[in-house]
């Protein structure tokens, strides 16, 4: 427990937290969300001095301070957190706590923590190992094969079942090499991370991997960035209209955003080999403007907005890999009321590149959003008068760090320019492009679908398309007796309705006709099994 005065500094915390991890930023900027679990890993190393200072002022140990702070931060009565000098051990203990449904903050080396970790089952251990494998895979770790690893996990599971070992405790005396020989390198590595019982014996700096891989992960302290292995940047595209602190971008610790001041020098104590995937908060570049006199016409606003965009584009926090998905243009009117104009891009948009064309695309999209917002505001105020704007601020509300492989997509390397152009066109349009195609479905209203139909066998349905009208009604409209009177019908086709949608295996059929009504229109109408007539389309 962290209550003892000589409790070790909890270098790593594994915290059970089902929601947003932003709250944990109060502890450390170095966070990691553990895949497949409701666990967050906090590396407290960078703030150690800060916490120690605070603790000293409060007359407590740093460990006690963290223990007090955590429930308040999480706002939950039952806190489940485990501390250890290695992230893997913190995770193992947290998992063991979860298995036994034990709450509190326990340390790996505290007596109760020791008892609990001894109670950890192989299923819990393997679950963690498998989730670690997900991280390894996402990092494209060399010499890591997901299938092989899964097979080794199964081997371990089977072997432990045969041994009658419910948890790792029975094999506590075994060396990592014994596991490597039996179940492969990675199981051996995990065993090495979790096995040492004596904190003094933990190889904190030595590489734990005697054979392979030589340098499994990113020893960021020792390898210059330029020489670090290329790895993909994880990207999580925020919701197009969302934003705020809850949105997140996951990237490795040195993924491109500048390091925060307090972590400028990466700690040499970082565990070598551990697949740490940092969770980072969003930063929000912003540009305010106060107008000399009120303006309301787009033509007057656009040049000024372009200036602000240009300023945003050279924001020092703005990195080449970053793309905009949403801008929020916060307008202040002369009555001090505010209107938020959300400029959303359909595809990640490169502000810098757009600068070369005078922000043509951004301004186009902004103009649509501006017109919509103004129309809405006028409707809301029941006013026909234009609304004068006195000031604004424009900020990046949504952005992503693109994968390095996306570089080509945006034309940097000059390949696939057609696609880039198409995406740019879509970004410049007021409405998105929609593509439809025939699909192999006999029911008329289902026979056209948005593009990306996988069917390539369309001969029958092309035939159908020739016989059917160009214009459909969204839903069939009942035809009255008056409309039918004097009409002439030519039978076209008979289709069965989709019984599984109606929930009745004997659901009916439709007989389609070309119906010439008294007004000379060629309607596409059908008669159902009960004899009722419906209009379903119109021939050109």
């Amino acid at each position: 427990m962290l209550t003892a005065a000589d409790a070790p500094w909890p270098r790593y915390l594994a915290v059970e937290l089902s929601g947003d991890g932003a709250r944990l930023l109060a502890l450390s900027p170095w966070l990691m969300r553990w895949e497949g679990e409701v666990l967050w890993l906090v590396d407290l190393t960078p703030c150690r001095r800060y916490w120690e200072t605070l603790a000293e002022r409060a007359g407590r140990t740093a460990a006690e301070l963290v223990r007090e702070l955590l429930p308040r931060l999480l706002g939950e009565d039952l806190v489940r957190a485990a501390s250890a000098d290695h992230p893997w051990r913190a995770l193992l203990l947290a998992r063991a706590m979860g298995e036994r449904k034990v709450g509190g903050i326990l340390d790996w080396d505290a007596p109760f923590g020791k008892a609990l970790r001894d109670a950890l089952t192989w299923s819990g251990w393997l679950a963690l190992a498998k989730s670690c494998a997900v991280h390894l895979q996402s990092l494209h770790q060399k010499r890591f094969g997901a299938q092989r690893f899964a097979q080794q996990c199964r081997q371990l599971e089977g072997a432990m079942a045969r041994l009658g070992a419910r948890g790792p405790l029975m094999l506590a005396g075994e060396e990592a090499m014994a596991f490597r020989r039996r179940f492969g390198s990675w199981i051996g590595i995990f065993w090495e991370w979790g096995a040492p019982r004596d904190p003094a014996s933990v190889p904190r700096t030595a590489a734990p991997l005697p054979r392979d891989p030589a340098a499994p992960f990113f020893p960021r302290a020792s390898v210059p960035r330029s020489q670090a292995p290329r790895r993909p940047h994880l990207m999580l595209i925020p919701d197009a209209v969302g934003g705020g602190a809850s949105e997140e971008t996951e990237a490795p610790r040195d993924a491109g955003l500048p390091p925060r001041e307090d972590v400028a020098a990466p700690s040499p104590s970082r565990e070598p080999g551990f697949p740490w995937l940092a969770w980072l908060p969003r930063t929000t570049p912003e540009r305010p403007r106060h107008l000399d006199f009120p303006l309301w016409r787009w033509d007057d606003l656009a040049p000024l907005l372009a200036e602000d965009l240009a300023a945003l584009g050279v924001d020092p926090r703005w990195q080449p890999e970053e793309r905009v998905t949403e801008l929020v243009w916060q307008l202040t009117l002369n009555d001090l009321s505010e209107i938020a104009v959300s400029v959303v891009f359909r595809h990640p948009h490169d502000l810098r590149k757009d600068a070369a064309s005078g922000f043509r695309i951004t301004l186009l999209q902004a103009s649509y959003a501006f017109e919509d917002a103004m129309r809405h505001a006028r409707r809301h105020r029941e006013s026909e008068v234009e609304l004068p704007i006195t000031s604004w601020s424009v900020r990046v509300a949504g952005r992503i760090v693109t994968l390095t492989t996306w570089a080509d997509l945006f034309g940097e390397a000059g390949s696939d320019t057609d696609l880039v152009r198409l995406l740019e066109i879509e970004n410049a349009l007021a409405v998105g492009l929609e593509r439809y195609t025939l699909t192999a479905d006999w029911l008329p209203e289902s026979s056209y679908v948005r593009a990306a139909s996988t069917s390539t066998e369309l001969a029958d349905w092309v035939t159908l398309a020739r016989r059917r009208p160009l214009f459909y009604t969204v839903t069939p409209v009942p035809l009255t007796a008056a409309e039918l009177r004097g009409s002439r019908q030519l039978f076209l086709e008979r289709v069965a309705t989709k019984w599984w949608e109606a929930g009745n295996p004997d659901s009916g059929r439709r007989d389609y006709y070309q119906l010439l009504d008294r007004e000379g229109r060629y309607l596409w109408a059908f008669r159902d099994e009960q004899g009722a007539w419906f209009k379903h389309g119109l021939f050109g």
Partner: protein
């Protein structure tokens, strides 16, 4: 052909698929035929995909109608639609196919040859390229009509000019080969995508001068089957129905429509319609083939020069009789043989007997034990030929049960062979007669309740959790036969109990149930019959096409047993019997270890120690009389000769039990009730069973004697007993029997009892001959158990899987009998279980073989034994690791079974070493052979590990362990009554017992009563659960390996059962300690009590 002016135009439908176009056609053949007849069709061509699967059933349906005079004069045309490319995954209308219809028997043979050839590539994806069909050197197309349906590649291409050209070129080729027998089929389905080909087809017909036929291109008999049709497409594609719309037909027009409507449909074609009408009529007139023409002959090659099959059979029979009886054939046998041979000659069945004799003779020459059973054991010919082993001179056999003149049906000889060597016999038949003349009978696998619900549910996109819940429900015996709707109701309940998160409202329960009910009974695919064989004197294609079966080296004809029987085609049943294998292996062991050469015939028939053992019900492991019910009957019936043993075998069957024959017989047997006969004429029939009818033959003879039945009629009665119903055909027969018996003055009570028994036989009843055949094997197995128990149990273990009990139960029984059982050992065991001479004694110990070690491959184990023998044994574990060269899986399997213990390595250490098997080559510089410091196994860990690795334990019995160290039930252990003492408890007393579940049984006729056999460290415990008790404690009874029950003991004549009143649940609270205590976490004894899979009990639900 139809004419719009004609009020009753009639119609020849040239393309009709039944549900034997597997997972495509949506109607049973009978439904298609009946509707066509009802609509007044003149003719109907059955054209299933790539086979003749549905032809026999269609024929049978029409024959039934014809028999009742309701066929309307409709004709059936026999054909098939043949895939020309392997494009079965495409929608039906895009597949490249051609339809072939037989005009004569020759044409039918040609069709079957093409179909057989189409299946040459394997079970799935049957097809034959058109160019091969048209190859004059390859196939004879005489008397075959070809019809090109208006679909396929051209339609797939959208009837483009190029596609039309290609089609025209192809049709020209077909016409060149088929001449005027080639037709084009025009179809109209009120849909543009399907009518698109109408004009191109007409153009083609004109250009090539090919007649057109009109067809609805039928895939279901009635429009209301459209939904089922869609569903089948979805099931075939293994995707939800909404995702395979391309596979569906757009509307329900591909069904049989009334001819007047069809005439209107095609009326606008004018002269084309008239021409098609004429072509259809001409084609119909040119077809003169019916399945009735199929004739069958047995192979003749085994007949010596100058012999007919009859003369050869007679010669063989008399010679064999002389040989069997040493030249002095008993008068009775002579009379029987003369009678039977005359009858066989009249009916022309001699070929059949000679063929079966030939097969049996070959099996004997290969030392494969075999024995005929069933009605064949009524035959003296079968007896003297060695096909059956029941001496007809000693029993009153009813030959009419086997063959009757009136019936004229082919006789049915079932021959059992050793189950491990039956394949040799099967392959011999293929070799002997050639694969073109011998094939096994198919078995049509249909959608049953569970399968139908699962398939429909999946096609409707029902979540897996609901599918699982439904399957779970249907896994239970009482719901297996239930209607799908009931099962769905139960599934809802189970899902609710389990707290399934998915909203049940999202499941289309009604639709699911309704469609599953519609799908129920539909054929799914073709399987293989358990042993039915057809052999013919000429190519099988004269009867039916052949195709490869799923099992390697086997071929099947495309018809099932019922189809074969309906067409009067003979089949031979080559069956497998595990006990024959065990007996043969036991004979070998006795010869090798005891120096005695035994045969079935050489075993003394009245060995009293054997009968003493049988009367004590000490029959675990023996044939037939080892079940719970049999064992409880043996001490009461006390059989003392073979016939009484036959009665024992036959009486514990649903027929006699349901017919309430058991207790009257027992009362008469023990002298409590007087033996009387309802009529003096029945005395000879019922005398041997003390006035109580027990066997099927007795019912038949009663029917003949006092019911006014002829032998043929009585056999007809017997045949219908299997599907007894008071409705339908049998009601007349039953009425006649009742009437006959009344007329003969039999009492109402006897008549009612006999009727009850006939009903009982509908579930299961034995013919006398069959019972005697089985009794003989029961006696032989008992004799071996009594006199050579070690060899007997060894042989049983080496013949697994077979019998009623698990290897564990057999080994426990052997140990209770005082035999020494030695565990598997890497240095001592061979693959099979063997006998080892005990030191300084004449007795033998059983050394369990490596075959019982779970996950150990036979090939590896045999190699290990071979290398061990070659090396003169392994001195150390390292030697075994180096020289045994076992892989990780095999080594861990051996270690898990504690077979490496002989090297002084504990199981856990051995397992840890075995996991590093890949590193054995680095033994000198690695820790591979160094045992890890692992904690020793506790006794219950040992028991658990033993059961997991071997299915049994050689340590203390787990029930003893639980009793002493992990007791977690409410009753105190001192109140428990061990199995060995139960026979001493007075009947009616309450007892508490505890044991491991070996067998659970719920016979259908028991009306919900469940029987279970437990085992403790002293013996077996018999339990009976009444339905209420079972329902109340169902989770415990069905789920747990160990049961602690309380109930009243019923003890009668040395047989006892406990009528369970309470089942005690294990409680962890009594045994669970502080959660973090190490031993509690690793091996809580109480968790063993809650073990659900420690022993795989044999459940008969």
């Amino acid at each position: 052909m139809a004419s719009s002016a004609d009020a009753s135009p009639g119609w020849n439908e040239w393309i009709a698929h039944t549900n034997f176009s597997f997972l495509t056609g949506a109607s049973h053949p009978a439904e298609v035929v009946e509707r066509a007849v009802a609509l007044g069709y003149k003719g109907l061509a059955i054209t299933d995909f790539d086979g003749a699967y549905g032809l026999a059933r269609s024929f049978r349906a029409l024959e039934r109608l014809r028999k009742d005079g309701r066929d309307g004069g409709m004709r059936l045309f026999y054909g098939a639609e043949l895939h020309l490319a392997r494009d079965h995954e495409l929608p039906v209308v895009w597949r490249d196919t051609i339809i072939l219809i037989a005009q004569s028997h020759r044409g039918y043979f040609n069709l079957c040859r093409l179909l057989t050839e189409a299946h040459r590539g394997g079970k799935n994806g049957a097809h034959l390229p058109l160019m091969e069909i048209l190859d004059e050197k390859a196939f004879d197309l005489e008397d075959l009509v070809a019809i090109q349906p208006m679909r396929g590649r051209a339609r797939r291409a959208g009837w483009t000019p190029a596609a039309e050209l290609e089609l025209a070129a192809r049709c020209a080729e077909v016409k060149r080969r088929f001449g005027p027998r080639f037709h084009l089929a025009l179809s109209r389905h009120l849909h543009p995508s399907e009518d698109e080909g109408l004009q191109p087809t007409l153009r083609l017909a004109r250009a090539l001068d090919v007649p057109c036929l009109l067809s609805q291109d039928v895939f279901f008999h009635h429009p209301d089957r459209k939904s089922l049709s869609d569903l089948l497409h979805a099931i075939r594609c293994n995707r939800p129905v909404g995702e395979v719309t391309a596979q569906h037909f757009p509307n329900a027009e591909r069904s049989l429509r009334d001819p007047a409507g069809l005439a209107r449909l095609y009326a606008d074609l004018g002269p084309v319609q008239k021409a098609a009408q004429a072509a259809s009529a001409a084609l119909s007139a040119s077809i003169h083939f019916d399945l009735k023409e199929l004739t069958y002959r047995y192979p003749q090659e085994m007949l010596p020069e100058g012999h007919t099959s009859q003369s050869y059979l007679e010669e063989l029979s008399w010679a064999s009789a002389k040989e069997r009886f040493g030249g002095n054939v008993p008068e009775k046998i002579v009379t029987l043989l003369q009678h039977e041979l005359t009858l066989v000659g009249q009916l022309g069945f001699a070929d059949y007997f000679v063929t079966v004799w030939d097969i049996v003779r070959w099996a004997r020459s290969q030392h494969i034990l075999c024995q005929g059973r069933g009605s064949a054991a009524n035959s003296a010919v079968c007896y003297v030929l060695g096909i059956t082993a029941v001496d007809v001179s000693e029993h009153e056999m009813l030959f009419e049960r086997f063959i009757s003149v009136e019936r004229g049906d082919p006789p049915d000889i079932d021959v059992d062979f050793e189950h491990e060597r039956r394949e040799e016999v099967i392959q011999y038949i293929y070799r002997r007669f050639g694969r073109d003349r011998a094939a096994m009978v198919a078995n049509v696998i249909t959608f049953e309740s569970r399968g139908a619900l699962r398939a429909v549910g999946k096609a409707l996109g029902v979540a897996e959790v609901w599918l699982g819940a439904t399957s779970q429900v249907l896994g239970l015996r009482e719901l297996r036969q239930s209607e799908p709707d009931d099962a769905l109701g139960e599934a809802k309940k189970i899902a609710a109990q389990k707290g399934v998160a998915e909203d049940p409202a999202t499941v289309p329960w009604g639709l699911w149930g309704e469609l599953a009910a519609r799908l129920h009974g539909f054929p799914r695919h073709l399987g293989i019959h358990s042993g039915g064989f057809i052999v013919t004197d000429r190519a099988l294609e004269w009867l039916a096409p052949r195709e490869p079966a799923t099992m390697e080296n086997r071929t099947v004809v495309q018809w099932c047993k019922e189809d074969i029987e309906a067409l009067d085609i003979f089949k031979i049943d080559i069956l497998a019997l595990g006990m024959l294998t065990a007996i043969r292996k036991c004979f070998t062991l006795v010869k090798d270890h005891y120096g005695k050469e035994l045969t079935i015939a050489a075993i003394p028939v009245l060995d009293q120690p054997t009968y003493d053992m049988i009367c004590r019900a000490d029959t675990v492991g023996t044939f037939q009389v080892e079940s719970r019910a049999q064992m409880s009957m043996l001490p009461r019936l006390k059989p003392r000769n073979l016939y009484e043993l036959a009665i024992e075998v036959a009486i514990v069957r649903p027929g006699p039990i349901q017919g309430k024959m058991v207790h009257p017989f027992l009362r008469r047997r023990t002298g409590v009730e007087k033996i009387d006969y309802p009529d003096p004429r029945l005395e000879p029939i019922l005398k041997r069973t003390m006035g109580v009818p027990i066997f099927q033959e007795q019912v038949m003879r009663i029917a003949m004697e006092v019911g006014g039945f002829s032998p043929g009629e009585s056999n007809e009665l017997r045949r219908h007993m299997g599907s007894f119903t008071m409705k339908g055909d049998l009601s007349g027969m039953i009425g006649k029997l009742e009437q006959g018996m009344r007329k003969n003055g039999l009492g109402e009570e006897f008549i009612a009892r006999l009727m009850e028994q006939i009903k009982g036989f509908s579930h299961y009843g034995f013919p006398e001959s069959h019972a005697i055949s089985f009794a003989l094997l029961a006696y032989v197995s008992s004799y071996l158990k009594q006199h050579y128990p070690a060899a007997f149990f060894t042989a049983l273990l080496n013949s697994q899987p077979m019998g009623f009990y698990t290897p564990h139960a057999l080994l426990q029984t052997a140990q209770h009998l005082g035999l020494e059982v030695r565990p598997p050992c890497a240095l001592r065991s061979r693959w099979e279980t063997t006998l080892e001479r005990r030191n300084g004694e004449r007795a033998h110990a059983i050394r369990v073989g490596l075959h019982l070690v779970s996950s150990l491959r036979e090939e590896s184990a045999r190699l290990l034994v071979e290398r061990r023998d070659r090396a003169g044994g392994f001195g150390t574990l390292e030697e075994l690791l180096r020289q045994g060269r076992l892989g990780r899986v095999d080594l861990t399997a051996l270690a898990a079974a504690d077979a490496l213990k002989i090297f002084g390595v504990s199981r856990r250490a051995a397992l840890w070493i075995a996991e590093a098997a890949a590193f054995t080559e680095f033994l000198e510089d690695a820790d591979v052979a160094q045992p890890a410091e692992l904690p020793p196994e506790s006794p219950w860990e040992r028991a658990t590990a033993d059961f997991k690795a071997l299915g049994t334990t050689f340590g203390r019995h787990p029930t003893a362990l639980l009793r002493e160290q992990g007791w977690c039930y409410r009753p105190k252990t001192h109140t428990l009554t061990p199995a060995a003492k139960l026979t001493q408890v007075r009947s009616g007393r309450n007892v508490v017992v505890f044991g491991m579940v070996l067998v659970r049984q719920m016979p259908p006729e028991a009306k919900g009563v469940m029987f279970a056999t437990l085992e403790d460290d002293t013996g077996l415990i018999n339990l009976i659960f009444h339905p209420q008790v079972r329902q109340r404690f169902r989770a415990l009874i069905d789920g747990l390996t160990f049961l602690c029950v309380e109930g009243r003991i019923q003890n009668q004549d040395g047989a006892y059962s406990i009528l369970v009143q309470t089942v005690h649940a294990p409680s962890l609270s009594a045994a669970e300690v502080v959660p973090l205590r190490r031993d509690a976490l690793i091996s809580p004894a109480a968790s063993l009590a809650q073990e659900r899979h420690l022993v795989n009990s044999r459940d008969y639900f």
